[in-house]
């Protein structure tokens, strides 16, 4: 991999992440007349929820944002992944095998969230996927019609995924939510203060039709030899088995914080810490969407707009009304979070020989005596593989309460020799 200086770019406002938050930020910042760049590591814009929908939006909300984006002036940099910081004001990016430098006056981090995966026996078998994971593959061309799917784990995403897969012709063998019914009912009542959410929920239930939605049940084992054949589930009392082609399983979302962390932004328990105008603890670096704390689509859009205004033109009065909408969406997110809190039983699903770190094949037994994330890394190589602890770091944080500690660049694997070259060059060049 080499540094391609001909592709270096410089912007007034650089937005990282082409999901709803990043798209909303781009529209507002470009509306303020600034030179805006929008980077995303996927082949096209849309983020997780609107993946592959640019030409065919599936909802009114998506259509509005894609249309606004279409009318805006900005440079889109899809297929481009930020891997590190060269110096303050300049990021290092990788695009189709070459490295480029992207400079900015203001930066908006809209890096979104990923699914939380928890280890249980058999979870490494092919065809055991994330809930959003299977949905993403179905959106990118995997034929799912006629395939039998068990959806399990936790959170409202399970319903969205189930509805999507059903629409594409999958045979749903049930949706299993680990949260107890009592908590969900409370959440259901909470919806009455949010009329737009009620219609959304009703709509999803209608799309899922007669499929069984079972609260208070979770997977304990994925069974198969070279590939998944069936899933064992439990309600805490009995265990039963369901045959399926795919297990779509995620236990909620965790924010992508590697980039805010290497930029020096302070991170709180839920995500990147921001002030009322979405600025992080680092000046001119803003954060919006799931990366400030998981909160759903509406919150991502409000935060993106606020960050776009603030990064482009300070704290404009005309954008002040957005702060109220955002705060309301935040309250809704908090209620949601409480309803889907993960049960303690999920901490004890892995057996001694169940792999926890999938990159380095570190089993649960090897981690039993370790005292911290760093201790585990040094003694067992947990978190040292290509995913750089993104999967097992989030899992062990839930299982053992370990903090992931400092993040070091590059935040995604790149050819190391060449990286050394970039950093040594940049250290000697004038800022």
């Amino acid at each position: 991999m080499f540094l391609d200086v001909s592709k270096n770019r410089s912007f007034d406002v650089l937005v990282i992440g082409g999901g709803p938050a990043g798209m909303a930020a781009t529209v507002t910042a470009s509306g303020e007349g600034r030179k805006v760049g929008l980077v995303d590591d996927n082949p096209d814009l849309g983020g997780q929820i609107w993946r592959g929908e640019r030409k065919k939006p599936s909802s009114a909300e998506a259509r509005v944002v894609f249309e606004e984006l279409q009318k805006s002036t900005f440079e889109a940099l899809p297929g481009t992944r930020i891997v590190g910081l060269v110096r303050p004001g300049t990021l290092l990016a990788e695009a189709s095998g070459s490295l480029v430098e992207l400079s900015y006056q203001s930066l908006i981090l809209a890096t979104g969230a990923r699914e939380l995966f928890l280890p249980f026996p058999g979870w490494t078998l092919p065809n055991v996927m994330g809930a959003g994971g299977l949905q993403a593959l179905a959106k990118s061309g995997l034929p799912i019609a006629g395939k039998s799917v068990v959806v399990a784990g936790s959170g409202p995403l399970l319903l969205a995924v189930a509805a999507h897969l059903k629409k594409k012709g999958a045979i749903l063998r049930g949706i299993f939510e680990q949260a107890p019914l009592s908590k969900l009912v409370k959440f259901g009542l909470g919806l009455w203060t949010e009329p737009s959410k009620i219609s959304q929920a009703i709509d999803l239930r209608w799309q899922i039709g007669a499929v069984r939605y079972r609260a208070g049940a979770w997977p304990v084992e994925a069974v198969g030899g070279e590939v998944l054949r069936s899933v064992k589930l439990t309600d805490g009392k009995k265990v039963w088995s369901v045959d399926c082609d795919y297990l779509a399983c995620g236990f909620g979302l965790v924010p992508n914080l590697e980039l805010p962390a290497i930029l020096g932004c302070s991170i709180g328990p839920g995500g990147t810490i921001v002030d009322e105008w979405q600025q992080t603890t680092v000046e001119n670096v803003y954060c919006a969407g799931e990366a400030t704390g998981v909160g759903g689509l509406d919150l991502s859009l409000f935060e993106g707009k606020i960050a776009g205004h603030a990064a482009a033109s300070g704290r404009p009065d005309k954008a002040r009304f957005l702060l109220n909408y955002r705060d309301k969406a935040r309250r809704f997110a908090r209620a949601l979070d409480e309803s889907f809190a993960l049960r303690d039983e999920l901490r004890h699903l892995a057996k001694a020989d169940t792999i926890v770190c999938r990159c380095e094949d570190v089993p649960a037994g090897a981690l039993a005596g370790r005292t911290s994330w760093v201790d585990a890394k040094l003694q067992t190589r947990c978190g040292m593989g290509p995913c750089q602890g993104r999967i097992c770091g989030a899992a062990t944080s839930f299982l053992h309460g370990w903090e992931r500690g400092s993040v070091r660049p590059p935040i995604f694997p790149v050819g190391v020799e060449n990286l050394a070259e970039v950093y040594s060059n940049s250290a000697s060049s004038p800022v």
């Binding site: 590591d41 490494t124 061309g141 290509p386």
Partner: protein
């Protein structure tokens, strides 16, 4: 398959997919769910579908460790899996 289909090879086998298909989806269709072997030899396939877990990594046009879930099939692409 309509005429606008994309021709590529997976482990030397010529295949055609609809435009916009990810390499991960193409491998799942034509090769099956096992993409690679882990460091201790257990079979693996895509998990996250979004470029985070690296379980779907493959060699694409000679570049190793590409996340196939984030790569769209292009005409003439050569995909090599790590399944023995």
């Amino acid at each position: 398959m309509p005429d606008d289909s994309i021709a590529l090879t997976i482990d030397g086998q010529a295949v055609r997919v609809a435009p916009g298909t990810s390499v991960a989806a193409a491998v799942l269709i034509f090769q099956g769910p096992g993409f690679r072997r882990s460091v201790t030899g257990t079979p693996r396939g895509p998990l996250c579908g979004m470029g985070i877990c690296y379980e779907c990594r493959l060699t694409i046009d000679g570049l190793p460790q590409r996340t196939s879930c984030q790569t769209v099939c292009q005409a003439g692409m050569e995909v090599v899996t790590d399944v023995p």
